[in-house]
């Protein structure tokens, strides 16, 4: 028996895709600024980066509030007991099982739409890396703040952290986009994030 589950409500899908576009815009302008490239005029890149960054911050705050209010946040909290074993099971699937057409070890349910690897990664990305990136992005906009808070060489710390976190988020994005092709079918994960629902096989006795 199949049941249609709405795992990604409209607000979440909208946030996801707006966030994806902002990631791209920040990536392109950020790289241009970092290398002092003339490909995008510096002043333009700066402005686009600032506006995108602010929008990302607002979007992030919206996502957190809406996630808490709707209970969506529960999907981000891993089951800590036996987490290591679960992550290894998922990793083994990507390393071995996926080539043998084995079933996904943690199919989405209403209570747990992410697999353990996703949970750990998304928790780190949304609740650790993004806030760090946003906070030091804002410090960049008000650099006087950094000088007062940390004193000597503070802006270096902020800049280094901003760069490193952005690098990790870019690496995450690469992995995220690739793994989106590793669902039941190559496109099923993309359908999930556009339509919002997923068909779940349910055993008769459950």
């Amino acid at each position: 028996m199949t049941r249609r589950l709405l795992l990604y409500p409209l607000w979440l899908r909208l946030w996801h895709w707006v966030n994806a576009l902002l990631f791209l815009s920040l990536l392109v302008t950020g790289v241009s600024l970092h290398f002092g490239s003339q490909a995008i005029p510096f002043a333009t890149a700066r402005q686009v980066h600032n506006i995108s960054g602010l929008m990302l911050a607002v979007g992030w705050a919206f996502h957190v509030v809406a996630s808490i209010r709707s209970g969506n946040v529960r999907h981000y909290i891993p089951r800590w007991k036996g987490l290591a074993g679960d992550v290894i099971r998922q990793a083994r699937f990507y390393g071995v099982g996926i080539f043998r057409d084995e079933p996904h070890p943690f199919p989405p349910t209403a209570e747990r739409k992410f697999n353990p690897m996703q949970q750990v990664t998304y928790l780190a990305v949304v609740y650790v890396l993004m806030p760090v990136l946003i906070v030091n992005g804002i410090v960049f906009m008000v650099p006087d703040l950094a000088v007062d808070v940390f004193n000597y060489g503070a802006i270096w710390l902020v800049a280094g952290l901003h760069y490193l976190v952005a690098l990790f988020l870019f690496l995450f994005m690469l992995g995220h986009v690739y793994l989106a092709t590793a669902g039941e079918t190559v496109t099923s994960e993309f359908h999930k994030m556009t339509r919002g629902w997923v068909d779940v096989e349910e055993k008769g006795d459950e």
């Binding site: 290398f35 002092g36 510096f42 690469l174």
Partner: protein
């Protein structure tokens, strides 16, 4: 026997290393002098004990009156109070501290009352600050173009009669900060020269009838102006690029550097100006620690670490390769299953 040989060897090594050390430090001193262009040692060495005494006695005699903070007179034509005071403490730390007053204020002044009328026009900086190898005290021609550059500056063009070296530089106080002071101190000290008038309407209006330009308004196009003012000198943008690093051609309006990438790039114009003394060492030991720890300033596009960049490219490259390889294997596995 072996012991004696070893002891002799040790003593010899100590002598050799001591000799090398002194030779090294002498070379370093000469190099520092050559780079700064200010022959610090030369003046003291040339001046014997007698000269030292004369120096002290001349300056002491002058400062007996001119060291009084209140010494001044009222100009009969302008009715303005003109200060004749020299702060002895500031003079002692200035670049001219080793000179006698009469090096510039010619010998007429040695008698009291002064024979010659005080004549500011007869005083000139370029008498000493010039590149002429025979007469100049400066070995490198950094002052070569100063006179020409000054005549092209907005200040001279607006006020050819009244604006001179002393409008900005007070020779009794002027102190060029050395590289060790760090960019922040250099920026602060150099900008203070401009801000003396450009941040004070009374001082500005005393010089000219031109409208007092608002610094904020003029720089409204510049992102984070206060941050820029704290990190770079006014002259970084307000002198044309390509001149020497003490360019005196102060420009305004259209001629001002407004291209962000002039500084915000790896080959930043700041490297030939504000950070000129750091360029050599910086280029030699480029890398994470050199760029992050030796550099007090952060400049987007300029001060980035090549090590971190290389690490980023490596991480991104290996991620892309890893994911691509995984995808390829998935595709091959599926083809095999189907066949």
């Amino acid at each position: 026997m072996t012991f004696r040989c070893a002891a002799f060897g040790l003593v010899a090594a100590a002598f050799v290393s001591a000799a090398l050390f002194f030779a090294g430090s002498a070379r370093a001193e000469a190099r520092a002098e050559e780079e700064s262009g200010i022959p610090g040692g030369e003046v003291t060495e040339a001046r014997g004990e007698l000269a030292e005494r004369e120096y002290a006695s001349v300056n002491e005699r002058c400062l007996r009156c001119h060291g009084m903070a209140t010494l001044s007179y009222q100009d009969p034509t302008t009715q303005k109070t003109v200060s004749l005071a020299v702060d002895p403490e500031k003079f002692a730390t200035s670049n001219h501290a080793r000179m006698t007053c009469t090096n510039c204020h010619q010998d007429d002044y040695i008698e009291y009352p002064h024979v010659k009328k005080a004549d500011r026009a007869s005083l000139t900086c370029l008498g000493c600050h010039r590149a002429d190898k025979k007469t100049s005290r400066f070995r490198i021609p950094i002052f070569d173009d100063v006179g020409r550059q000054f005549r092209r500056s907005v200040h001279y063009k607006a006020l050819p009669e009244t604006f001179d070296c002393f409008s900005c530089h007070d020779p009794h106080v002027f102190e060029v900060l050395t590289a060790e002071a760090g960019p922040a101190a250099v920026v602060n000290s150099d900008n203070a020269i401009c801000l003396k008038c450009h941040n004070s309407q009374p001082r500005f209006s005393a010089l000219t009838r031109h409208e007092f330009p608002s610094l904020k308004q003029a720089h409204s196009w510049l992102p984070s102006p206060s941050m820029h003012w704290r990190s770079v000198r006014c002259i970084e943008c307000h002198t044309p690029r390509g001149g020497n690093d003490i360019n005196h051609e102060i420009v305004r309006g259209e001629a001002v550097e407004r291209n962000c990438v002039a500084c915000h790039t790896k080959d930043s114009a700041l490297l030939t100006r504000l950070y000129r003394h750091r360029v050599k060492e910086e280029r030699q030991v480029s890398g994470l620690f050199a760029s992050m720890l030796n550099n007090e300033a952060y400049i987007v596009g300029m001060t980035r670490s090549p090590d971190v960049d290389a690490l980023s490219f490596f991480l991104i490259g290996s991620t892309v390769l890893g994911l691509g390889g995984h995808g390829l294997l998935r595709w091959l596995a599926r083809r095999r299953r189907r066949s």
